[in-house]
């Protein structure tokens, strides 16, 4: 404040003595130019440092060295930023209708910057009225052939494999990055239909050798899950054998629609209105509880082998999730409460029937900008 006062008084003095065009005002110009240059220099240095650090991480990964969880000051600073408002403003900006002549240039620039394949885009570029609409574009027929093998689980999205494995042990933890894990219950919700067994029943579960028994058990688990979803003690329970997870990251240039990985029936939808941290590689190793704090939509149901859940997690730039099976669902809404730990909003699809049936490869949802 004193600096600004001094600057103002100097400027006034300069104006009164020299008529506003003298040596002092020239000095102020230099002062402001210097400050701007220093800021640009600092931003450039920070950017260069980030590129250097990311390169080091990439080199380490190529050598097979796994990067451990490393919280830093920038990650702590992210918690103070109004990321939801930033995301919504970004969404509003990218929703602006662009002049027809400008559209191909903007979308080509976006594709060039984020390595998108424009040849796959379903419609001519000038038919997408805004960047937001272009971002959630559909693809030409046959661009994504679905693996016809009935004994395979297909990828629901275009993206990069971050983590995968089998869920086992108490609490059923998923590793965010080496040195930090989160519970699958925190991700899917405490009332998840995830098939769990208490530790005392583990022996019984492990000796499950008969297929008929397995089928019966599956049915009884389902009855118990529906009847008493919150009675089970998730902290002391272990996941049933044969439960797996796979985490896939979508880069900004990737095709951003979610498809069905198998033939299944969606029974429940849960919407967690959380934060909107970025979810890039850097964020996964610096921000604690990234996936379980961010806004997300969880779909749970059954397929021929049992339980199936798809969690679509938003980020700052891609904050809203559109469900094709429930178009009225709105995400990334303005926050009314300060607390970030609100219970999820849940909807049971067709509680008397079989839920929403989807075939492998069917479109389920899309990520939208802002």
């Amino acid at each position: 404040r004193s600096f600004i006062k001094k600057l103002t008084s100097t400027s006034r003095t300069g104006a009164s003595f020299t008529g506003g065009g003298g040596g002092d005002s020239q000095g102020n110009t230099f002062l402001i130019s210097g400050a701007t240059a220093a800021t640009l220099l600092m931003l450039g240095a920070l950017h260069a440092r980030r590129i250097y650090e990311d390169k080091k991480v990439e080199e380490a990964r190529e050598k097979g060295i796994e990067i451990e969880f490393q919280p830093d000051v920038k990650a702590s600073f992210m918690r103070l930023l109004p990321l939801r408002s930033i995301s919504r403003i970004w969404g509003s900006l990218t929703s602006v209708d662009l002049p027809v002549w400008l559209r191909p240039y903007v979308y080509r620039a976006w594709a060039r910057a984020f390595h998108s394949n424009l040849e796959e885009v379903a419609r001519p570029l000038d038919e997408y009225v805004s960047l937001r609409e272009f971002f959630a574009h559909d693809l030409k027929e046959g661009s994504r052939p679905v693996d016809p093998d009935p004994r395979c689980l297909a990828s629901p999205v275009d993206g990069t494999i971050v983590r995968f494995g089998e869920l086992n042990g108490t609490g059923a933890m998923i590793e965010q990055v080496k040195g930090f894990s989160y519970s699958v219950y925190s991700l899917l919700g405490s009332s998840s239909l995830l098939p769990m067994v208490t530790e005392g029943n583990m022996h019984e579960e492990n000796s499950d050798q008969d297929s008929t028994f397995r089928e019966n058990k599956k049915k009884s688990w389902w009855r118990i899950s529906l009847a008493l979803p919150k009675v089970r003690d998730s902290a002391s329970a272990c996941p049933m054998k044969g439960l797996y997870y796979c985490v896939i990251y979508l880069r900004p240039g990737d095709y951003h629609r979610i498809h069905s990985p198998v033939d299944w029936n969606i029974l429940v939808r849960r919407h967690f209105a959380g934060r909107l941290f970025p979810v890039n590689e850097r964020a996964t190793r610096t921000i604690r509880n990234l996936y379980i704090e961010n806004e997300r939509v969880v779909l749970e149901g059954l397929w021929q082998e049992g339980f199936m859940a798809v969690a679509a997690i938003g980020a700052t730039n891609i904050g809203s999730i559109e469900l094709f099976i429930e178009p009225q669902l709105r995400t990334n809404r303005p926050r009314k409460k300060l607390l970030h730990s609100e219970p999820p909003e849940e909807r049971v699809y067709d509680p008397e029937g079989v839920g929403v049936s989807l075939k492998k490869g069917d479109e389920v949802a899309a990520f939208n900008m802002g």
Binding site: R151, V157, F164, I174, Q209, D210, P261, V310
Partner: protein, 44 residues
């Protein structure tokens, strides 16, 4: 944005095997995948 899949898949009936599961992922960490490509397979 990120998508997390959690699913139940077929397991071996015999516990004497060293491999506890019939389901096998056919991907590696860092792989690029596209919609419809297999993430894993299992034997009948």
């Amino acid at each position: 944005s990120t998508v997390v899949l959690v699913f139940q898949a077929p397991t071996l009936k015999s516990m004497t095997s060293t491999d506890p599961s019939e389901f096998q992922f056919c991907i590696k960490q860092g792989d690029r995948v596209r919609v419809g490509e297999a993430l894993g397979r299992w034997n009948d």
